[in-house]
Symmetry: C2
Subunit: 403 residues, 2 copies
């Protein structure tokens, strides 16, 4: 029997759809020293706490798994988040103004889908979260990075970027930033800088997408108010998640924004709510257990950050520079201009079994920043970090990246 | 202190975004006799089985919750699904050709997003799943319903609808159907009709979106091959889910399609994979427990269907007609032309505490079918069904809908 010709869908795809492409992170296998991905520590996940929480919740509300619930997500968890944001971030919204999402990533997606048409301009920090860039590209935004220093985005540069747009018949649809423990750069935007940024948003009618997903992971220093709180006038879309404080495998993020935006983001979210099976477990766990769990993991991660910083001090001094992050999961390392830490990544992985993320992965143009690497310290123990960093330093030296 | 003016996002929203709107199902509170929604039975959910499964899986793979995994979803569950489809539906794909989704709903969403631009024509059964219609409207498709009878879509009518399109400079982007235990109509498309439908898809280069999410809920009669299997040439996008066989609250669906489509559907899926916390529990549960669980719930649901059919026989004979479904979760009831069961829904709910779905909810034009109702029987016990159906019949008689 002849097989019929395979159908190709020629001429049928929608204009805006893209093919799935790798994000350039893959090394084929997982490195032993995995400094490439911002994982939380696998050995301190609250697995038992989640099991106990789920057991209790299913005994109380298990039959509700039979229901089809609103895409906004489980109400009691939204109430917990509203109370947490008020307490921890001085950010005051009702649970009705919160939507649960598949990680912060889906909150970023539905925000971009609500605002961005093909060719629209989105502004970002000069190097920023690769998953957000990936979504911006999917919606065919024109992404323009704005220079930053150790206190965050440079206000003059941002204002020029905004003012340039009307000359091109355009308008900034959004400024995306991770103001606290910026990914990948590690800085926290200063209060002064935040005030200026919010002032620009108000002056130019520009929404800000504030990705605050690392804010709970503070190892020292003082909290800085969120952009959402400083604004108070609906310009800021605030997203965060439990991926870093509980586990990425829960896919539980959340967002809050002005009703006009939130209603559209809800329509763009598909597949129903974050599964009740997940939100029941999280809700019962966080109600009693989140604060002490965060304290526990922050102790662990502080030691890992310190091991990473001490290793940098020991092996990279003179050949590279970096900022000491007060929280988060990674350190951003700069080699001298002209060196290329990107081209040697796979070779170094083969030689050392250590992985790192490369600068272009975080660059709006996909190519800048070849002399930068991001080193994440959440996954390995302090001893492994010291071991892996020594191997990495030796390998970078052999390749002429580190001198 | 003056509050700053609230930002309105005027002129900033993307062209295709819509506001979340209610789907017209809400009655304010949940009816005692809830024939409106196709729930599975809340009291026979496999809660203990899922807990045991999760406990075992977390002991074995819990630390993997720390990882960021591919949006395609947990490999071992995709392998289980590939084996299940081969065994139950004679449908042969590899696990690489399967993507897990947030219920069948997200599979429908990403398929539509991959194919539909504003104004594109999508063909459907004359009355069909309201969630799919909702997604089609979201992508601003022009939805054209095609007449059906008790064996499914009428081939001549479908071919005319397809042939009409080039005269308008258009082409069918998709034919969406629920061929097995059609929602809401309850028919199962006959083998002969399926062959003709697949032939039309091949002749005209038209993709078919086959929503097979009720196929496991067969109470009597013989399985009919899936459209995907009959085609074998990549025209059919096949979606299904565990919502009806495990629980909607897991949000675990899946799809398979030709690689060209699947790659785009993967890019359109956001928020990462279905949570590992969910897929670990499902995988361990289904491996040993799915077949016997389906047997158990089908015994329960067969009795409920029979209670519903007997109640119709007893109270509605002469005043309405209906089809006996061999599976699924609902019965589609037709009152005489000119009667209106839609306008009286809330009044009847107040009088009886019984809910039903109205015809226009399933109509592409949102208004046809006022003399149809869908009665779902998964939620209530047989005794409650008999009780509620008696109340409903009396109320419909008082309103002149039933004579």
């Amino acid at each position: 029997m002849n097989q019929p010709d395979q159908f190709t869908f020629d001429g049928l795809f929608s204009r805006n759809v893209v093919e799935q492409r790798m994000m350039g992170m893959g090394l084929g296998r997982k490195p032993k020293y995995d400094f490439a991905i911002s994982y939380p520590d696998p050995s301190s996940l609250p697995l038992q706490g989640l099991m106990t929480a789920l057991q209790q919740a299913l005994a109380e509300e298990g039959p509700d798994l039979a229901l089809y619930l609103s895409a906004q997500g489980y109400g009691p968890l939204r109430e917990f988040i509203a109370a947490k944001l008020a307490r921890d971030r001085n950010l005051h919204v009702t649970s009705d103004e919160i939507m649960l999402t598949g990680g912060a990533g889906q909150a970023i997606h539905v925000t971009l889908e609500s605002l961005v048409d093909t060719g629209d301009v989105v502004l970002t920090d000069d190097y920023t979260y690769s998953g957000a860039l990936h979504q911006m590209r999917r919606f065919q935004a024109e992404i323009r990075g704005v220079p930053t220093d150790s206190e965050g985005v440079l206000p003059d540069a941002l204002e020029s970027a905004i003012r340039q747009l009307p000359r091109e018949g355009k308008r900034a649809k959004l400024f995306y930033t991770v103001p606290t423990f910026q990914n990948p750069q590690g800085w926290t935007m200063s209060l002064e800088r935040r005030k200026v940024l919010v002032g620009l948003a108000q002056k130019y009618g520009m929404p800000i997408l504030e990705d605050d997903c690392y804010a709970d992971l503070r190892y020292d220093g003082q909290d800085v108010p969120s952009l959402y709180t400083l604004d108070g006038a609906g310009h800021v879309i605030y997203v965060s998640s439990f991926s870093k404080t509980i586990a990425p495998g829960m896919r539980a993020g959340y967002m809050t924004a002005a009703p006009a935006l939130l209603k559209r983001a809800m329509a763009a979210k598909s597949g129903g709510p974050v599964p009740l099976f997940v939100t029941l477990a999280i809700h019962r766990f966080v109600t009693d257990g989140l604060a002490s769990h965060i304290e526990e993991i922050n102790d662990i991660q502080r030691q890992r950050r310190d091991a990473m910083l001490e290793s940098l001090e020991e092996h990279f001094t003179g050949g590279a520079t970096w900022l000491r992050p007060e929280g988060g999961l990674s350190v951003w390392v700069k080699f001298p201009e002209g060196t290329d830490a990107t081209a040697v990544r796979e070779k170094i992985f083969e030689a050392t079994n250590a992985g790192y993320s490369t600068g272009p992965n975080f660059a709006p143009d996909r190519s800048s920043g070849k002399n930068f690497i991001r080193l994440s310290f959440g996954f390995n123990t302090p001893a492994e970090i010291r071991e892996g960093m020594k191997l990495l330093a030796d390998a970078f030296r052999r390749e002429g990246v580190l001198r």
